[in-house]
């Protein structure tokens, strides 16, 4: 509730200008005052409801804004949001933003765990805000931006590095043995599809990368998400042996697959339940097999 200051400033200004302005301007100011009053009433009502109603969620939200003096020191703001059945953390955050503090900044889009925008650090674990039920969490609900990434503002982190790592493994289908007819479909066997099925679920939310201890200490490490992407295409039989070799060469570099120390942090936090560690381990075995060639 840190935006109270600018509002009162506005009010002061409008009152000062009142005598010297045109009727139209006065009308506008009058409307503005009414709006402000209505808003204040709404806020008071909401606060009253929150106080009266036992059923509120206590949110502790990380706040930081490098562009506003006085907000450059990271801090936690408390919000008391009325709880309703089925409320997610994202719902609670949106309520807090819409009713209490419009400067509260966070990313969200689809609200159904598909866009991967709202990966947050909620009560000590990387989760999707839209996928996490408030009723599953201990009170107060502590919401922070993803660790190990630079905070842009409040709950928004800089994802650029994560995207760079994803791009580094060439996360797209490419093959040498193209069909004769340009329009012919390139079919995948059902067995092969099953093998890569889980790895295709990645929504690029960055929760795994944020939870990974190794990625935190080694910026060049590709990270679980990128390695999972590499797995998805390296294991795709349609790409052919040459392309698989090329992919293995990318992932078996110094900061590739061998940095994984099987802490299982990424697998624990993945909102799409991708067995990331299993995929990374499979890639390790593939890399060993392609290098040793005892058979």
């Amino acid at each position: 509730m840190s935006t109270q200051q600018p509002e009162t400033q506005e009010d002061d200004e409008s009152e000062g200008e009142l005598e010297t302005t045109s009727p139209a301007q006065q009308q506008r100011l009058e409307k503005k005052r009414q709006r402000a009053a209505a808003r204040e009433q709404r806020e008071a009502e909401a606060a009253e409801r929150a106080a009266a109603d036992e059923n509120t969620v206590h949110l502790k939200v990380f706040r930081y804004d490098p562009e506003v003096e006085g907000k450059q020191e990271p801090r936690f703001d408390d919000f008391y949001v009325p709880f309703h059945k089925g409320m997610t953390v994202l719902d609670a955050l949106m309520y807090a933003r819409d009713n209490y503090d419009s400067s509260l900044t966070f990313r969200h889009s689809c609200r159904q765990a598909i866009c991967g925008s709202d990966a947050l650090f909620i009560n000590g674990s990387q989760r999707l805000g839209c996928q996490t039920q408030v009723s599953d969490l201990d009170d107060p609900v502590r919401v922070e931006p993803l660790p190990h990434q630079e905070v842009v503002k409040d709950l928004v982190v800089d994802m650029e590095h994560f995207y760079d790592q994803m791009e580094a493994v060439e996360p797209y289908f490419q093959t040498d043995d193209l069909p004769d007819d340009e329009l012919e479909e390139q079919h995948q066997t059902r067995e092969n599809r099953e093998k890569v099925k889980m790895s295709t679920r990645c929504i690029w939310c960055g929760a795994c990368m944020s939870s990974c201890n190794i990625a935190a200490g080694d910026n060049q490490y590709l990270g679980p998400a990128a390695l999972n992407k590499a797995y998805r295409f390296a294991m795709d039989e349609r790409e052919g042996a040459d392309m698989k070799q090329r992919r293995l060469e990318i992932i078996e570099q110094e900061h590739g697959v061998w940095r994984c120390q099987t802490q299982f942090s990424c697998t624990e936090v993945c909102p799409k339940d991708i067995p990331l560690t299993e995929h990374i381990q499979a890639l390790k075995r593939e890399a060993v097999k392609s290098n040793l060639k005892f058979w």
Binding site: G124, N213, N219, T262, F264, A282, K284, R285
Partner: protein
């Protein structure tokens, strides 16, 4: 990423309370590994300096008056050394069991049971350490 600005409590070591099984296994494995390396070098240093007994007179050795026997007896008479031995056993046993767990993980076996296998190795370590106490603390002078 890691060079991001200081987020205070956000990035601090207080995070250990939020660790999951795999993370604890990793930390304990590192810790026990370093303890074993430390022990190895201490072991070599102590025994190699005590081995001047090899040049001693056969009668001195027979009478258990040589440096090696004296060193071992002096160490074993201390309660703290006996307790450290139990600790060493626990550390070694955990490192072995978790090492087997990691081998299985590397082979892709039982990855969905990795947390349970960590708890199992912890429990087994505890049981073995407790069971070894009578052996290690037998006949110690307090």
């Amino acid at each position: 990423m890691s060079q991001s600005y200081n987020r205070g409590r956000i990035e601090d070591f207080g995070r250990w309370r939020e660790f999951s099984a795999g993370m604890w296994a990793w930390i304990f494995h590192k810790f026990t590994g370093w303890v074993l390396i430390g022990y190895l070098f201490t072991h070599i240093a102590v025994l190699s300096t005590a081995l001047t007994a090899a040049n001693a007179d056969p009668s001195t050795i027979a009478a258990h008056n040589d440096v090696y026997t004296q060193t071992i007896r002096a160490l074993e008479s201390l309660l703290v050394v006996r307790i450290l031995e139990v600790g060493l056993l626990a550390v070694a046993v955990f490192h072995i069991l978790n090492g087997i767990r990691l081998l299985l993980v590397d082979l892709g076996i039982g990855l969905e049971a990795q947390d349970r296998s960590f708890y199992a190795s912890l429990v087994l370590t505890g049981v073995i350490a407790v069971a070894s106490v009578p052996t290690f603390l037998a006949g110690v002078t307090f």
